[in-house]
């Protein structure tokens, strides 16, 4: 290369290529793991009796790979590609870009190396343990610095709406991640969050919902506002509408988190607030969808001819569908039927496969030929991919609707005398198995389409000219700042990234404050002390086993305030009952029954046999076997430290209890093991995690010192 050429005269597309390749590779893994977990729910034998690939360990791997590895890398590729062009500037620093890229891949690899081995916080989509959380924060800051410096170096005066969406993403994800991940380390890969019970639930779903908003929605909307106009060579239908879209989303989304906690012990008014704001989300989301679709005005034929447009338009349509369904599911009565069922899983996948997946596929079909300076290898194959993928998504969603509504209705069904029609939970599960196979086929088709895409893109890259041609940075018209001030038409908010970013921060913080306020009005640990006892040392160990195995991914621990729930499981859960739970274990999906009051329902031996092989006590059960728990030893020496940290977090353990915690745990373990042995279980279980887990299960719902007020 000629040394007089300034690299800042050219866009950095090498980094975009890297992110594109990473997107494809991780996408493949995310989809494959998804297929495995889908099979595991159809037939428990696909757990293979191996700890590190049981459902509870793989499911977080699937969600994290899909969200942060596949969608994450796709976002970075698209943001880096489109921002350089929109700002008419090369990315500010090659070093930062590469640190961002390799740092992110390292985070993904460490996720893949920890989650299957049970290192998890159990907070959904924030399962990664504290050292990885710190790494995420660092890489995110690198990304932010790189991005904002590029904005500063821009040659284009005005900041296009896509960039706003990126800015909102960067700021909000940082806030969400940091607030939700605050925890106290116990060991190198284990920590307890500072929040407990209903507070933890509120913070977690403020995070969880906004991870959907600011990882899977706003950045993709930014991409939509760039790639659709590019693909059809027309400006967006209404620029004004895109601004309304932007501010409404930034302001409303944050409030909606409590719709994940309807009919729980969260105060009612907080639930209603979450519901109202969720309903309001409907309008801007549909405004955005219409804006995306109408950008095609006068070029509708492109849907037929151009696979990029096909994918992008289908993606926007799925965005509309998912954002219609979301508010619907937030209506309390609909939610009472749908929550904890597969309907939610279907809803998520309409968004993830349809909106994020198809938008990414469309973007890849657009980007790869552009980046490698050639044409797409085969339009026909891309069209095939589209139809196979679409069919896959439709099968998936239909199966989950049918399954979710069936199960929801069966849980609530009562006969004339007010008894449950299906008191046996497992009945409501086996009914769904055929639908789980349909879901598997849907996922398989989606993956098949993706394999066709991988082939097509690889062939595209291979046919490309090996000579590297770089895209020169376009000429800009940026006016020096002092002139901006004097010229009124340019004195617009839209051109002032600093002011603008500040406004976003304010909107996000105000809304967050409001939606987290309920946490301040929950009972305190002090006041609960006289009502609820904390876990015994052995129970606490068992609880950590429960977290490690991902039991919360199939079992809730929150009996809702509905008569069918109270009939099935006992009195509705109260706020006090989970007050010592760092982290909370309310769960979000019931593939198995609620466990909030499982304590004392069965004898210890039942649990032992059930954990060794669920089919032995419940013939048709889908639950994986956990036979290794009868071999794995408890680390007794960690117990005092665990109690100490809980004490620092406000759980009322006395010094005496902490000092004697090892002996207390050993004694309780010996008692349980002895009884198990007397009833026919093998001897020597007192050192194993099995007894700890049984102790924990038997404590659930049995912690109240005073008898519960029955309402």
């Amino acid at each position: 290369m000629n040394s007089t050429v300034n690299k800042y005269d050219f866009y950095d597309d090498e980094i975009v290529k890297k992110f594109v390749i990473a997107t494809v590779c991780w996408g493949l893994i995310a989809f494959l793991v998804g297929l495995v977990v889908a099979l595991q729910l159809a037939d428990w034998r696909f757990n293979f009796g191996l700890p590190w690939i049981t459902f509870g360990r793989l499911r977080p791997l699937h969600t994290n790979a899909a969200i942060f590895a596949f969608a994450g890398n796709a976002i970075f590729a698209g943001i880096y590609h489109s921002s350089q062009r929109l700002l008419k500037a090369r990315l500010s620093s090659d070093l930062l870009s590469n640190l961002h890229f390799w740092g992110w891949q390292l985070i993904i690899v460490s996720a893949a190396l920890t989650l299957p081995f049970g290192y998890t916080t159990s907070k959904e989509y924030a399962e990664l343990e504290w050292p990885i959380d710190i790494a995420i924060t660092i890489v995110w800051v690198i990304f932010a610095v790189n991005f904002f410096l590029t904005i500063k170096n821009r040659k284009e005066q005005h900041i296009y709406v896509a960039i706003w969406f990126y800015i909102a993403t960067i700021i909000t994800v940082a806030v969400l991640h940091i607030v939700n991940s605050i925890a106290i380390p116990v060991t190198f890969l284990k920590s307890y969050p500072v929040y407990a019970g209903v507070q933890d639930a509120l913070v977690q779903w403020w995070y969880g919902h906004n991870a959907v908003a600011f990882v899977l929605t706003t950045p993709f909307l930014g991409l939509m506002y760039y790639y659709i106009p590019k693909a059809v060579n027309r400006p967006v239908y209404s620029y004004r509408l895109s601004i309304i879209h932007f501010w409404s989303l930034v302001f409303i989304y944050i409030w909606a988190g409590p719709h994940h906690l309807l009919h729980t012990s969260l105060p009612n008014w907080a639930q209603s607030l979450g519901m109202v704001f969720s309903l309001m989300l409907w309008a801007p989301s549909w405004g955005g969808m219409i804006n995306g679709l109408l950008t095609l005005r006068g070029a509708w034929d492109k849907i037929r001819t151009d696979p990029v447009v096909k994918f992008l338009i289908a993606a926007v349509t799925f965005y509309g569908m998912a954002t219609f369904e979301g508010p619907l599911l937030s209506i309390k009565s609909v939610n009472s039927l749908a929550h904890y069922t597969d309907w939610i899983i279907g809803h998520v996948h309409a968004g993830a496969l349809g909106w994020n997946g198809f938008l990414t596929f469309g973007m890849l079909y657009y980007l790869v030929p552009k980046l490698w300076k050639t044409n797409l290898y085969s339009v026909k194959l891309a069209t095939t991919h589209f139809w196979i993928g679409l069919l896959g998504i439709i099968l998936y969603i239909m199966a989950m609707w049918a399954s979710g509504i069936t199960q929801g209705l069966m849980w609530q069904a009562m006969d004339d005398s007010g008894n449950l029609l299906y008191p046996d939970f497992v009945e409501t599960v086996i009914r769904l198995v055929p639908l789980y196979y349909v879901r598997f086929v849907g996922g398989l088709l989606f993956l098949l389409g993706f394999l066709i895409q991988i082939f097509n893109l690889t062939a595209t890259v291979l046919q490309a000219n090996k000579e590297k041609v770089k895209d020169p940075v376009a000429k800009g018209s940026r006016i020096p700042f002092k002139d901006v001030i004097s010229e009124s038409s340019h004195r617009s908010l839209e051109g002032l990234p600093a002011v603008f970013s500040t406004l976003v921060v304010i909107a996000v913080l105000v809304a967050s404050a409001f939606s987290l306020i309920p946490a301040l009005f929950t009972p305190t640990k002090m006041s609960a002390k006289s009502i609820i006892r904390p876990y015994s040392p052995l129970e606490l160990v068992g609880r950590d086993v429960y977290i490690r195995e991902g039991c919360y991914l199939c079992h809730s621990q929150q009996i809702r305030t509905m008569s069918s729930e109270v009939l099935r499981y006992g009195p509705a859960s109260t706020m006090e009952e989970s007050i010592f739970d760092h982290p909370f274990q309310w769960g979000s999906k019931r593939t198995g029954p609620d466990l909030a009051r499982i304590g004392k329902k069965y004898p210890d031996l039942w649990h032992y046999r059930h954990m060794m092989d669920p089919r032995e006590v419940t013939p048709k059960s889908l639950m994986p076997a956990y036979a290794w728990l009868a071999k794995d030893k408890i680390s007794f020496d960690l117990i005092p430290k665990k109690l100490r940290i809980m004490q620092q977090l406000g759980v009322p353990y006395s010094e005496y209890e902490i000092d004697n915690s090892i002996e207390t745990a050993q004694m309780q373990a010996a008692t349980i093991a002895k009884e198990l042995h007397e009833h026919g279980a093998p001897s020597g279980l007192e050192k194993t995690e099995m007894v700890a887990l049984i102790a924990y299960l038997q404590s659930l719902g049995q912690m109240s010192i005073k008898p519960l007020e029955v309402k």
């Binding site: 506002y225 620029y239 601004i243 105060p267 008014w269 006090e576």
Partner: protein, 55 residues
């Protein structure tokens, strides 16, 4: 007891403040984007992605 307390306290006011805040933001955005002489500006903005030829 706590439940009683929660029932008695007028938290709904917070929800109302939230709603008002939202509408204030929403209305200001509307006023802002229809400010005088902004049509031409927004038209220009919407063409930014299309300004450079195909790369």
């Amino acid at each position: 007891m706590i439940r009683e307390f929660l029932k008695a306290y007028p938290y709904m006011e917070l929800a109302v403040v939230g709603q008002l805040l939202f509408f204030a933001v929403f209305l200001s955005v509307i006023f802002w984007i229809f400010r005088k002489g902004s049509s031409q500006f927004y038209n220009k903005m919407s063409h930014i992605p299309l300004m450079e030829e195909d790369n």
